[in-house]
């Protein structure tokens, strides 16, 4: 039998046992100890990574299971169980384990409901208090009247952190106009041809947005490479002049 089990999948030996009980459709009040012990051992062997502080608890439970298993195999003292049925029930070696499992299961269920509440809480939004400082009087109580502790501080901090995330406007999601270099090349060429005279380099960057400027620049470089525009500069730092090469028509791109 091949298992791939992560220890993180279980919240400890009780959780693992509940998982086995459910999976094997075992009656929690009548746990077949041999079967459950065997399954339990298989599982903890399959657990690949073990956290140092959790491993010992899985081992203790393994020992407990084995102990119960062996106690159930022991012959019972007849006079004890024949005459006193109640004693017999209490003496079931599994009792304590069953009790623990049921108790734990209760809170495991409660945790699920808390999780739902947590999610539900996430579906509605509140807002910070408005700044009421203009109404505040100068009168201040002394520190002793504050009645604060560190937990108030922590609580406030976390409430704030939760809220901040809700309140922060999404990074401006301007639907970016995707412009292709080809398209920009055509635009520039048409523009230069229409103007019929050299344009100054900076005039080729009409839109002051980084993506657009980069595409425009690449378009000019590509046009130069294809010798569809000519570029000249009279001297250092003077304007670069860009001009369409006569007779050139841009080949339509797919």
């Amino acid at each position: 039998m091949e298992y791939s089990v992560k220890v993180e999948a279980f919240e400890g030996p009780l959780d693992l046992l509940l998982h086995l009980i459910q999976g094997l459709e075992i009656d929690i009040y009548d746990i077949p100890m041999a079967e459950i012990s065997e399954q339990y051992m298989l599982y903890i062997r399959a657990m690949k990574v073990m956290e140092l502080n959790l491993a010992s608890e899985y081992l203790v439970m393994a020992a407990t299971l084995l102990a119960i298993k062996s106690r159930m195999l022991l012959p019972k003292h007849e006079e004890n169980w024949e005459n006193e049925e109640i004693d017999f029930e209490e003496a079931d070696p599994r009792d304590e384990l069953v009790e623990r499992l049921i108790e734990y299961r209760k809170y495991k269920q409660a945790a699920i409901e808390l999780k739902e509440k947590e999610e539900d809480r996430g579906s509605y939004y509140t807002k910070p208090p408005i700044d009421l400082s203009e109404y505040e009087s100068a009168k201040q109580e002394s520190l002793e009247d504050l009645n604060l502790d560190l937990h108030d501080l922590l609580g406030a901090f976390h409430k704030l952190l939760r809220r901040k995330k809700l309140q922060k406007p999404m990074a401006t999601r301007v639907t970016r106009q995707e412009i292709s270099i080809e398209k920009r090349m055509a635009e520039i060429l048409i523009d230069l041809k229409n103007k019929k005279q050299p344009q100054r380099f900076h005039e080729l960057f009409p839109v002051a947005e980084k993506p657009h400027m980069i595409v425009s620049f690449l378009a000019v470089l590509e046009l130069m490479k294809r010798k569809e525009v000519s570029v000249q500069q009279d001297q250092n730092f003077s304007d670069i002049l860009v001009e369409a090469v006569e007779g050139v028509t841009l080949v339509a791109q797919p």
Binding site: E11, L14, R100, E113, S123, Y124, K165
Partner: protein
Amino acid sequence: MHNHNEQAIIESLLFAAGDEGLSLVQLMNVLSIAEEDIRAKMGSLKEQYAKDPNRGIHIVELADTYQFATKRDMADYIKQLVESPANGSLSQAGLETLAIIAYRQPITRLEVEDIRGVKTDRPLQTLVSKGLIKEIGRAEGAGRAILYGTTVEFLDYFGLKDLSQLPKLPEDIEQLDSEEETDLFFKSLQDTLTVE
């Protein structure tokens, strides 16, 4: 004081208070009306906001205060404008630990560990640091162990008005199906007897 419409006043106060919320006492003080009247008023306002399809906000009761919050079915629209809390949810260990503390407080670490069957220092630390639980006293006896309980932030975090609003604990399942249990007991008794 009553020149203005009470409903309008309450709306402005709730808006101003934001997620700090308004307690009954605060409302009583500002509106100078009796507690029962405020309760009734808030009850009917709550219903009014909830029912009105033109309203996108409603009144919630959180941690013993009244607050405005957006209605749940508005979440999809709001999400488009604000970031959702990144991974803000608690781990399974944290939730279990918190559940035990919430229902059994005041409770010591050892008692929590007894129920969970595992060491619980880490989840406890995390919960304290998240402001969801705190030390609310010390146990009698030698160790004077820390007793933990939930905080106001706990109520807010789970959208609860107070602890009585915690979901009912699936109370001792033995009690619920006690009959079934008795049957089972006799069955196993019989089995045992026939085997022996």
